[in-house]
Symmetry: D2
Subunit: 161 residues, 4 copies
DNA sequence: TTTT
DNA sequence: TTTT
């Protein structure tokens, strides 16, 4: 009924931009968010590693301007998806669907994604057949982020907005 | 660095109260949070099912006053734990560690937990051996919520506060 | 750069719906939000009284469904306006501009606003001249909520969305 | 009942540290938070100027590490105080009482407050007479931030924590 | 495995 | 000027 998350942390890697078969941009990255305490007597700083997903225009902006290590604020909502893995076991995935992302560190190394060079993850899956197995109207979808080298099987109907 | 979550939803079941071997109360429940949209053309309301964990005094208050179906507000932070399951595979668990819980529906059916009768989950694991497999100082802990009928193997060092 | 507020409290009065000269709906109400502590040794519960503003469709929904005393959740952002009062003194007004409102108590007494009877505040100022003192492009606007019996002088340009 | 605010913005000035007569540290500063839109057709960026108050240890940390212009995240709650001004008129003051402050820009110009030199606002009002007019147990307190050159008249009973 |  |  109400579902709001606000995080500040650093990207663990460059963001990954993909496209659904219908051509909708979706970018995924992970935020390392330091915990406000140290536990177990250890003095090593711990963090939570939280998966972030953005869609459409925001996805492209994130892919263009965010990079590994950048301090970033994210606003969004928690989403829990589930899908059946290759052993037929149900897997639950928790992500934050972001609708607002703030870049807290300037892009002094200039650089849109294309200039970066160090990243090769912005492959477009815009073609894609969407091969079948979505019949029946089931709300249990495949994981769009399992990298099986095939186009992701997700329709625009699955978009959260 | 900053990690804040606010949720309003309904309990999918009665909360479950346990105790660590050191006697610290921990209560777990799941909140069904309706999504603000309907997707896939379907008209059925969808929800995210989000696991909530509370500790100490708040855990006992939640166990005493929350029940299945109650509208509840939760404030806390996202935590991502991981542990190795019985096939030696790493499993990731995302939960909201709550530090503030608001009961939005009055307890008209009166009833502290003890009077409820319908619930049998407030078993105390206060004794517990807690020995053995925590050596090595690893921060990867077992899942305290896997119900194997044995006392949960978690020390006070693992407490988030 | 990021500005997010979440409140749960009760309406101190019925909401007030008005319209800008251009016909845009704007609803105002005050939320009494109990503080989580008692201060000064007194045992009386204290509260903060926080002004909420909603626009357009949400404004009409709030006017239709919210009533004095209702438990309500509000999501939005803090806005600080200022205007010059009749003594030529600058006055600062802090409000929460809501973009999400949740009705936490059901409307068991049924009743859209029109059926309520106890309220007479949904006067429409849809006509209105809206002339005169907005020249010069100043961002300091008059207070739209000062009730001087005249149409409020606010253009659609001032709308926050 | 629930009251949560999260802001990211920049300090409009150096923070001001004071002490209550009982010796409790309180720091005040203003955050300029850019709005996510431009209104009125103007292309000038607008901002909300939001007053922040911190107490005790956090107050001293803020006074030591925050400076004018620094990008800062603040977590807290909205508080609405009121007091009677010198014309006997009731004035309402809205502030954010912060319980978590994150410094998003490093202190490369080194400098604890004492080394800063440019600031003279960390005067301690630790002595203070507390001259009388708090009898009667009224919850309407004087504004601690009106700068009249006299010690602020506030007792520990007024502290929010 | 899910709530109204 | 304030709500349960």
């Amino acid at each position: 009924m109400l579902n709001r998350v606000i995080l500040i942390g650093r990207l663990t890697k460059d963001p990954e931009l993909r496209y659904t078969p219908a051509g909708v941009a979706v970018t995924q990255f992970t935020l390392a968010v330091d915990r406000p305490f140290t536990s177990g007597g250890s003095k090593e700083r711990e963090a939570d590693f939280i998966n972030i997903v953005t869609w459409r225009q925001l996805a492209e902006t994130c892919a263009n301007y965010l990079r590994k290590g950048r301090l970033t604020a994210v606003e969004g909502r928690i989403q829990v998806r589930n899908y059946d893995n290759n052993e037929g076991k149900r897997v639950y995935v928790t992500e934050v669907i972001a609708d607002n992302v703030r870049f807290l560190e300037s892009n002094n190394s200039a650089g849109s994604r294309e200039e970066g060079g160090s990243s090769n993850s912005n492959a477009s899956y815009g073609g894609g057949s969407g091969s079948g197995n979505r019949g029946g109207g089931s709300r249990e979808q495949q994981d769009p982020f399992i990298d099986d080298g095939k186009p992701i099987d997700i329709s625009d109907d699955d978009l959260p907005f």
